[in-house]
């Protein structure tokens, strides 16, 4: 190549090289066009989707939670809008501590707010906004608005809060809501509701709020917004409005509930009142109670500690979780069983010496010297133990267990509270089969005939929830047509106002004979006119069937039971079942007063108050009296 060439040689070579360069240019541009064809034709759909995904964000719009009202339309749970101050930790300009300290200069932030925030922070994802203060006042909102440029990642949001206007009233029935936890999420997921809970941060934790969670929640709406690369919403493209959750109209009567709770005063216990013809629960009391409003924006550790560690255990729903021996309230059912199974006629009488000897054990009656000749009527009215010792022995444990099992004793009622039926206790319906399962050692597994005898008076292994007792009483009042107890009368669809009844049909008809039922009804009416309930029901303007009961908390071995001589926690539980009016009962109930002593003494007056109000509209004066001196003590 070196050496001499003419200029023409050089020009030719140069032009060849220009041609080569032109070819390279054309090849390179063809390659580019090929790349464009690949991206813009072949892969176009893929990239179009990617661009749309880039562009559009779906912002969930949380629906209004359904409202809960009582049978008369009194609001028990509703929503109200309030401003909350929220922090999104991932978007902060400074550290969390610094931000909160700076915020505290313009808005009142208490140590408890900080504590709650920390707790929520642990549970939350980093990009979620977490409330540091709820229910800001208007002036606080204004103060923050003026300084908000200082606080990236902090904003004021309007949020809906659950509110229980009646406070403590019916809290065990209503339950409460709280922030969604991992466990709640799993539950939501299992119900295939995860997508519908986007943006929702509260969920029903107990009671009706939990049982009807998916009815109350509603359908989450969406707003399609165009966002820029920084995730800021620029404009709304489409809005799919949320659908409010369905409203619940309860069978509960809020006024009755309130009166009943007051009647308990500071006594522990439970009352369940049921409409016999429908199974609808009119009142569900578990005393002491709590204020569900405390839980709405996250309960403070102090409040939680107080509720959870209080010796009276206010968080326990005694109506469905407490299992107690029914005591003498079991007797009417025993009597009915005897008639139905042909083991007794109403007029068959026994001579009661005040005890029943079985083997080498003596089962004693409450009344020293006995009741004399006792037929079925008298056995109920005066609550004669000996009659039932003998009856139980004659019937045998299998027959008792079968009969009682049919009325719902020893099985969950399926009331619409809590998640599934996990919150409800089964109680104990004693039977040889139960005992075999209950105990491990073979000698414990054996059923002894002597054990059957105390079953007859509602003692021994017997243990039922007030709910079961109320259901059985309602079934008896309804002549054997049995309903599942339920608190919600119907679910009201907020879209079209349609009402859906929750429990329109009875679950079974036990087929009891009318003449047998009449014997029992007459006897139970007698309890309130001439028997153990007569004092409590003196002057009643209606005829009520009833039965008192006393459940031993512990057995005094041979010693005479003397109230006042023993600690309060060891005193007997007082029970009472009732229904009225006797010929066409509108209400049936079971009352339990823990450590209340004789049933007639503290439980029956509560029942009287409830019936007076429900049937006559009569308002009671103060709490039901513990009218010890006036009570007939021979139940």
């Amino acid at each position: 190549m070196s050496g001499f060439h003419t200029p023409d040689d050089g020009l030719d070579r140069f032009r060849f090289r220009l041609g080569f360069a032109a070819a390279v240019v054309l090849a390179a541009f063809t390659l580019l066009i090929g790349r464009f064809i690949w991206l813009q034709i072949v892969q176009h759909d893929f990239y179009r989707t990617r661009a749309e995904d880039n562009r559009i964000a779906l912002i969930p719009i949380v629906p209004n939670r359904g409202v809960i009202t009582d049978r008369n339309g009194v609001v028990l749970a509703r929503n109200y809008s309030a401003f909350t101050l929220e922090i999104t930790p991932s978007q902060l300009g400074q550290t969390l501590e610094e931000t909160i300290d700076a915020l505290a200069e313009i808005i009142d932030i208490q140590p408890k707010d900080r504590k709650r925030f920390k707790r929520l922070l642990d549970e939350a994802k980093n990009f979620e906004s977490i409330p540091i203060r709820t229910r800001l006042s208007d002036s606080e909102v204004a103060r923050f608005a003026a300084q908000r440029y200082r606080f990236p990642g902090v904003e004021v949001k309007a949020r809906l809060f659950r509110q229980y206007p009646l406070g403590n009233v019916a809290s065990h029935a209503l339950g409460y809501i709280g922030r969604i936890t991992e466990r709640d999420l799993k539950w939501i997921d299992e119900n295939e509701q995860a997508a519908n809970y986007k943006g929702t941060d509260h969920v029903g934790k107990t009671g009706l709020e939990q049982h009807y969670e998916f009815e109350l929640h509603g359908l989450t709406g969406y707003e399609q917004v165009e966002i820029d690369a920084g995730g800021r919403a620029l404009r709304s493209l489409k809005r799919i409005p949320p659908v409010s959750g369905n409203n619940l109209q309860l069978t509960l009567d809020a006024k009755l509930q309130e009166i009943t709770e007051k009647a308990f005063g500071d006594r522990k216990g439970s009352l369940v009142a049921i409409e016999p013809e429908t199974g609808g629960v009119l009142a569900l009391v578990s005393n002491p109670t709590f204020d569900p409003n405390l839980f709405v924006d996250g309960i403070t550790p102090d409040n939680w500690k107080e509720l959870n560690e209080h010796p009276d255990k206010p968080m326990i729903n005694r109506a469905i979780n407490g299992a107690y021996p029914p005591g003498s309230t079991f007797k009417p059912f025993m009597a009915l069983a005897a008639l139905e199974l042909g083991k007794r006629t109403p007029n068959q009488a026994i001579a009661d010496p005040g005890y029943f000897n079985f083997g080498n054990h003596q089962f004693r009656d409450d009344k020293k010297g006995g009741h004399g000749m006792v037929d079925m009527y008298k056995s109920v009215v005066h609550s004669c133990d000996t009659y039932y010792y003998i009856l139980a022995n004659d019937m045998g444990i299998e027959a008792i267990s079968n009969f009682m099992g049919q009325i719902g004793f020893g099985s969950k009622t399926g009331i619409d509270l809590g998640k599934d039926d996990s919150g409800e206790s089964r109680g104990i319906l004693p039977s040889p089969a139960w005992k075999k399962q209950r105990f491990k050692k073979p000698e414990q597994q054996k059923w002894y005939s002597g054990e059957t005898i105390s079953i007859g008076i509602g003692q021994g292994y017997n243990a039922y929830t007030p709910m079961q007792l109320a259901q059985a009483t309602a079934t008896l009042a309804n002549n054997g047509v049995m309903f599942r107890p339920h608190l919600v009368r119907h679910i009201v669809d907020t879209r079209n106002g349609e009402k859906r009844a929750v429990e329109p049909k009875p679950i079974r008809d036990l087929g009891w004979k009318q003449k047998n039922l009449e014997v029992i009804h007459r006897a139970m009416a007698g309890v309130n006119t001439e028997g153990t309930g007569a004092r409590a029901f003196a002057g009643a303007q209606y005829v009520a069937g009833g039965k008192t009961g006393t459940a031993q908390v512990f057995s005094l071995k041979g010693a005479q039971y003397k109230e006042g001589a023993i600690k309060k926690e060891l005193r007997d539980h007082a029970l009472y079942i009732a229904y009225a009016p006797i010929d066409k009962p509108k209400i049936a109930l079971a009352v339990l007063v823990e450590n209340g002593g004789f049933g007639a003494q503290s439980a029956a007056p509560i029942a009287r108050m409830v019936l007076d109000y429900y049937l006559l509209g009569k308002l009671p004066q103060g709490a039901a009296n513990e009218d010890a001196a006036a009570v007939e003590a021979d139940e």
């Binding site: 190549m1 220009l18 240019v25 390179a28 541009f29 179009r48 165009e226």
Partner: protein
Amino acid sequence: MIDLVGTLRRGWLNATAHIDFPLLFIVLGIMGIGIATVNSATIDTSHRMLAQTGNMCIALVVMWLVSRVPPQKLMRFAVPLYVLGVLLLIAVFLFGIKVNGSRRWLSIGITRIQPSEIMKIAMPLMLAWYFQKYEATLKFRHYLVAAGLLLVPFALVAKQPDLGTALLIGSAGFYVIFFAGLPWKVILGLVAAGVSAAPFLWTMLHDYQKKRILTLLDPTTDPLGSGYHIIQATIAIGSGGVFGKGYLSGTQTHLEFIPEKHTDFIFAVYSEEWGLLGNVVLVTLYTLLIGRGLMIASAASTLFARLLAGAITLGFFTYAFINMGMVSGILPVVGVPLPFMSYGGTALVTLFLAIGILMSINTHRMLVKK
């Protein structure tokens, strides 16, 4: 009256005597697209369209002035400009201002200058002058000297580090050497050496440079970092489809997904809004521009003019190809603007200076022949 018309006519002829209208129309066509695209890219933020129009006017004046300078006079600038450029680059190396980890600028009182821009023109000018000088006695050692002249500024710019500009300066110089007749054996040998030295060169790259190259191979490995540009630009182009989303309707652009959208990534904006058809039009315009440039080079009357015209023309190609290749994801991301499209006054002036040189080469040849 007749006199006036005649005067105007003569004045117009004189003023346009050195304008190459085919070249001007092609460039104005690309620039028209560029202005519209800058407008779209900046309509939500600041309207840079007017500023760019101003830049264009200055650049056109520069072009007009340069086109009137005969190539023989241009040759006189070759050595001083090259020496000045190298001195300034050394000054940058010693006292330059560091921005984002790169030392690229010299502060001169009120403003700062980027000497590597001067080198884009000075490099081919210098080498064309050198080969012209030894045209009759060209020996192999002259190629070696030329390579030396090329490597000094290349190394200084690469060291800044500004790999994009270094490549542009290096390629401009290489084109001159190539057109001057560098033997094919040597070219093939260089390619072979380059390939075999690649692993060694790899270790010499800065981490960010390595990362850019790795990201090119798989942008998803760093979707929020250096891969983000490529991913979002590719989405913009791909979602444009055949006909595009329409002017001012590119969602990727207007929702800020495309970074540097009015400068290095302006092609993504254009491609999203005008689609494949728009791309074909643009590439065609660049092809015509390069074709016209190569024609001018082919017809040039001196070796200096030929080499300079050829190198300048291939320079346009290098800019356009690297930019579109990088935005569409077939080349690594290096900071190279799209000629006549990207926003920026300095780049535009440099480009029109080059266009002016091409026009000068073309028109002065014709005048000589006449």
